[in-house]
Amino acid sequence: MIRLLGLTKTFHPGKANETRALNDVHLDIETGTFLVLVGANGSGKSTLLNMLAGAVFPDRGSIFLGDRNLTRLPDYARSRWIARVFQDPLGGTAPELSILDNFRLAALRGTAKKLRIGTTPGFRLQVRDRIAGLGMGLEDKLDQPMGTLSGGQRQALTLLMSVMAKAEVLLLDEPTAALDPHAAQKVMETARQIIVEHGLTAILVTHDMKEAVTYGNRLVQMHRGHILRDVSGAAKQALQPEAIYQWFLSDKA
């Protein structure tokens, strides 16, 4: 279970552009939950996700994953439990490295990278098998640099990479924002499948309301640094995109 206790964060304190990004946020997320996080720009959802990843530290409050206190742990140290897919398809992969090398690093997420050749024929076969499962025909291009692939292909591979090493939490930061609708759907279906197969706790930040109602079993709306709505179970399943649009409109007023 992920437990967020009183997370507070102010950017540029004492300056003209001071922003209270998070204001005393409490949130418990049960293991296996697929939580969708929505909110207007500046509502704090990205800050919250970055804080979970360890890229941003809270001014006050703490973050627990099970019994482990992650609050002060930097991102690279948290990576043992937390995998991350970025909005920018370029962010989650190394463009100059081959697909195989990218997967090798992903398989070592959160563990020591030793002075030995890890891209063995056995490893190559394992990666081939997994990539073949995507049905994108990429399994024959393992030595191709990642940068030569399309955004959708890279994002789908990033998702596969996220479960190359054992993970407990998957953070999806608008993973489809840069993709065309078809690629976006493919990526989201891959994500859903991976989350179920590996029993992950997932958090998806999205601006796409259709995506927000289609995926996940809990939906949290953030507004000005705190949690405004929290819907799960049957209520979440019954949500329509129009309803969320209405929330956004009424919050502005």
């Binding site: 991102d75 690279y76 090398d101 030793k114 050749i117």
Partner: protein, 289 residues
């Protein structure tokens, strides 16, 4: 003929530095110019220990360690104090000038009567071929070692650090530590060049490193052009092309000198040559665009 073989030997001796600059510039995408200082530092340590008749292997290790420490210093200034990489390099390089001068005691130290690396084997009648063989062996060993290192899990992590910092951190790579290690390795290789060149020319001079970073940069730029042109992605081949770039660079300089260029103009020619390598493709690109 002899003239060009000499250029070849010098080119090979300097290509260790080229490999170092390849690490910082192409793998980590950091502009590091600690080079001028760490090159002379390698030569300085070589001079001091050679005069005390230390075994060559130990001198090699000490020179490279000294260079690595200079790189660590630049790395720490850059990553811990968040000072721009270029400025960090300039600070360490400038400081090293005084360190080198103090260590040497005077500006020029010749190795008169000392047996240098280049007198170690006598397989050929002409000493110049022995020298060529020796330095080739050392550079081949460097390339082989580096190619292996960059293909290991650690090496892939190194390459990812420069290629995609966000991804590297998300995958549990301590990018700050990695940069420090990369700068250490690069400057150890640069010091190796100092070790080789000092013994080849038979003296260490405190100003021998001034502007030397451009020579390394030149070999990386030419080597990179060769890489783009041939389209190789194999890391060992890429490293070999960087070495080839360094050789080409020295041969062009040798050619310029043999055509009667005054040695005083050498640095200016170096600058113009690199400007041409960097500038001409851009001008061409602008015309086609």
């Amino acid at each position: 003929m002899i003239f060009f073989v000499t250029a070849l030997i010098l080119g090979l001796a300097l290509s260790a530095m080229g490999l170092g600059i390849f690490i910082t510039m192409k793998i980590f995408k950091i502009p590091d110019i600690t080079t001028d200082g760490s090159y002379t530092l390698g030569a300085t340590v070589t001079a001091l220990l050679l005069l005390q008749d230390w075994p060559l292997l130990l001198i090699l290790l000490c020179s490279m360690t000294a260079g690595a420490l200079a790189g660590v210093l630049t790395g720490l200034v850059h990553t811990r104090l968040h000072i721009d990489a270029l400025l960090s390099g300039i600070l360490v390089m400038t400081g090293l000038y005084s360190v080198n001068l103090s260590l040497l005691g005077r500006s020029n130290v010749p190795f008169v009567g000392k047996t240098t690396l280049f007198q170690q084997i006598q397989w050929f009648d002409k000493p110049i071929f022995n020298e060529l063989l020796l330095v080739t062996g050392i550079i081949v060993a460097c390339v082989a070692l580096l190619a292996y290192l960059l293909r290991t899990d650690f090496g892939i992590a190194m390459r990812a650090t420069g290629d995609s910092p966000a991804m590297a951190r998300a995958l549990g790579i301590n990018s700050k530590g990695m940069k420090v290690i990369g700068l250490a390795a690069a400057n150890a290789l640069t010091a190796l060049s100092g070790f080789l060149v000092a013994q080849y020319q038979g003296f260490t001079d405190v100003s021998m490193g001034i502007g030397i970073v451009l020579v390394g940069l030149g070999s990386v730029l030419i080597g990179d052009a060769l890489i783009q042109w041939t389209g190789v992605s194999n890391i060992a081949l890429r490293l070999l092309l960087i070495v080839a770039g360094g050789l080409l660079f020295q041969l062009v300089l040798a050619l310029a000198l043999s055509l009667g260029l005054h040695p005083n103009l050498l640095k200016l020619i170096t600058t113009v040559f690199i400007l041409a390598i960097v500038g001409i493709p851009r001008l061409l690109k602008r015309q086609t665009a």
